[in-house]
Subunit: 194 residues, 6 copies
Amino acid sequence: MTSSPISRFPVPSRDQLDPRLRERYADVEERSGFLPNVFGALAWRPAEAEAFFALHDALMDKETPGLSKADRELVVVATSAANDCLYCVVAHGAIARIRARDPYLADQVAVDWRKAPLSDRVHAVLDVAVRLALRPAEVTAADLSTLRGHGLTEDDVWDVGAIVSLFALSNRLAHWAAIPPNEEFFLLGRLPRD
Amino acid sequence: MTSSPISRFPVPSRDQLDPRLRERYADVEERSGFLPNVFGALAWRPAEAEAFFALHDALMDKETPGLSKADRELVVVATSAANDCLYCVVAHGAIARIRARDPYLADQVAVDWRKAPLSDRVHAVLDVAVRLALRPAEVTAADLSTLRGHGLTEDDVWDVGAIVSLFALSNRLAHWAAIPPNEEFFLLGRLPRD
Amino acid sequence: MTSSPISRFPVPSRDQLDPRLRERYADVEERSGFLPNVFGALAWRPAEAEAFFALHDALMDKETPGLSKADRELVVVATSAANDCLYCVVAHGAIARIRARDPYLADQVAVDWRKAPLSDRVHAVLDVAVRLALRPAEVTAADLSTLRGHGLTEDDVWDVGAIVSLFALSNRLAHWAAIPPNEEFFLLGRLPRD
Amino acid sequence: MTSSPISRFPVPSRDQLDPRLRERYADVEERSGFLPNVFGALAWRPAEAEAFFALHDALMDKETPGLSKADRELVVVATSAANDCLYCVVAHGAIARIRARDPYLADQVAVDWRKAPLSDRVHAVLDVAVRLALRPAEVTAADLSTLRGHGLTEDDVWDVGAIVSLFALSNRLAHWAAIPPNEEFFLLGRLPRD
Amino acid sequence: MTSSPISRFPVPSRDQLDPRLRERYADVEERSGFLPNVFGALAWRPAEAEAFFALHDALMDKETPGLSKADRELVVVATSAANDCLYCVVAHGAIARIRARDPYLADQVAVDWRKAPLSDRVHAVLDVAVRLALRPAEVTAADLSTLRGHGLTEDDVWDVGAIVSLFALSNRLAHWAAIPPNEEFFLLGRLPRD
Amino acid sequence: MTSSPISRFPVPSRDQLDPRLRERYADVEERSGFLPNVFGALAWRPAEAEAFFALHDALMDKETPGLSKADRELVVVATSAANDCLYCVVAHGAIARIRARDPYLADQVAVDWRKAPLSDRVHAVLDVAVRLALRPAEVTAADLSTLRGHGLTEDDVWDVGAIVSLFALSNRLAHWAAIPPNEEFFLLGRLPRD
């Protein structure tokens, strides 16, 4: 783990962790091999941390025919890139590489989602997602219908909007606290079998 | 309450409410005299609703010397106006009028916060808040120092960023679901003693 | 009337008023119960004031099937909001509420005209009006044809463009002189019968 | 005079001219050798034409130490170029060449006022003028003070804002009606002694 | 030739010229009657100057049914105006006037190409050219097909993109070095037979 | 090498290569182990390819105290990211990782150069470079002085502007031809010793 600060705000040490967070953090660290910096950076505000992770899990840990886990990560990558958020582009880029079993797609989506090799469905999802991220008033009822036309259910459509919204929050908080991605994320999913 | 739909997504009737939300919603309705539409629109997703209200309460129900409840509402009004979010401008404009005991300030901030009659401190808060809302990568460490120079504590500074971030989420979800403000909000706080 | 200054430039007292303006100002004040600040702020330049009011009356005091007085006020509200002009949003919002006999529509149009409950005709008018206000070179002959397709006459179409143009002037002058709306405007048209 | 249409709206022939305009138009034509198209395009709306010319004359036909006639034309050229208005750039570019006795300055200001060979005073005027034209809410009291610091009187400062405002109107009307500049304007002031 | 500096960087005198450039420069000066300032400004970097002129000649000195020399100059004028580049607008505006044998078209394209009197083909070319200049990621395969639909060959289509690209370079270098157009360019092609 | 097309335009096979390019291409391929796609995509236009590589080599293959090879690559990465150019971000990101011997810096600069761990000198270089890439008219003489104040020589300062300019060209051509980065680039420089 990097030794430079992971936040502009106080970061509790592991034994100062609020009891509500302790188990979850230990669990994440065990599964991933490291604790993503956003966990550390949110820890001084346990109620906010809990709520943030609840939103994350409700929206991201879900695999549906209309919106796979990999698709959801690409929504995060595309909109976080639109917001110039290093933490989210690198961390969720890594997860997207793993979920999509593709070492290139996350970078392609981060830099130029329009020309990325995507299905029409995912291209339509990213089109409206990036619009909602950058110019939310320009999203119309017709945009939601387009997504339904590509096979997204009502739940999937809500999820697209809610994921963009959650990372509108997350990107700004990461900018505000200057949270860097863990070094591990940069390489994850780039090699044949990691 | 208006009879037109309050969301593009399903809205459970009061007796279909998830038990986790039932008491809170009854409570809000009793205190306010009506249930703000955002409660109804989020109800079909109870876990997300709970997390959203937890974030809201952690950040908005707090009065500090550096950032009063009224100031927090003005952050919401200014950034929601920058995002063209009718629900948040009207609902939080009403709360801002009540909290600030000023029938004009919310409209002044919503349309042109730069020329609104604000203290230097609140003007500085809104300046960086609107920047974080619209061009988050342009916020610098120097911006946070400026806020500390105006007397905000470390907690207050975090709260500014976290409030902007929460309403970056909220504004986009309100656009996505097309949630209208309740009619009651339009007039609240405009008359001498309501 | 507010006791804070109504302009960054000199404001003649009522008895210093240029004779050309005196009668009109007395008349307006009698009808409205107060003198809108823009009258006071323009008074030190009588020729400009006269010309401005002539343009205003030629374009705004006209009721046609294709463009009612209420519609004209909504054009002012939508484009003035796009220009962040507090004076025009609040003053013409009040007039729009009265003309449209609707206490909500002006705020809906000011914050997010795209989702406001408008006829297709008025929605099309505001669409091209806001474009003309913000990116005038992008308005095409096809835009004017669209308005004719919604039943606007040639005179109505001219009026849409001329109203947007007049308030492009008015918004900038109000910003330049920092003219605040009179407090009376904030509440006008919000209560059942005022 | 060009034979292509000078407006998307009706253009009265000279003998159909409203009596209020007839003498002025004959006079302009005699002095200039041709009738600028904006006169023809406005003629079907005599009250608006009169008011427009009154504003024009009140603001443009004035020579002060702080803001010469040539300076005023440069304000028009710079802001009209920012609005992509061909009529105003070409017509007022011609007048600026004549007033400033400089065959290059108008083109320099139209394309890149920042690097044009201007005095510090005129550079400061154009800086705030272009801001008022494009992002009016960002103009502050400090901007007006800066102009006073360059020797502009209170009247001159008002005039800067009012000229920008008038041409915010004029540019949009010229786009709306698609008024082309007369061919004569393109060459005026470019040759040693015309 | 103007006596003010033609670059912010060193400008070799004619007898200091690199041998690779000497003949070309003498040749240009003889044909044109003056040496365009961009030649002088690039001379201190002979390898870059040679490469730049090679690209220029490969793309601009070509007359095809789908993209005439005049059309190519209009691409330069429109995109250079979008980049506020005085040198390229004035110098290539002059060449465009000569190539198109039209004293007005270059100014029309520079200020408002959308309403310029162009064929549908050239209008389509400028539409995608200006997009590529300003928002390159928004250009799609469909845009290139549109150009083919207007009769451009594969070579012509490449040339459109390559010309825009070359002047994206040229505009920025002219801004960086502050290269002014030679005074001769301002008048070229404006008089009946020059 | 990828089997999907490397350009929207014809790509000569190796034995069809223009003699001027053949040796260089063989040489590059031998040194790198693969032929970067931009070489293939430019090959059908040998004169342009030659000139492009001449510009590249003149500006990028130079190590000075004020602007190292690694710094030059970071200028390319930052401005290409601002232009959403996948080819240049990925290819020059790889070279930057190798030149800077840092597996993280290129991604940090591509997504959010403002918060990347850079020296004040390189931060100042990227600040003006990105401005020149996106809003070239806003670059001033003072910006160039700032760079000199950070120790850049006159040659270094020119190089900053010329590199930005060259990749303004390159980014647009890569978008126009839809040139994908070779897969090899994605991983280069990310592992301890490659």
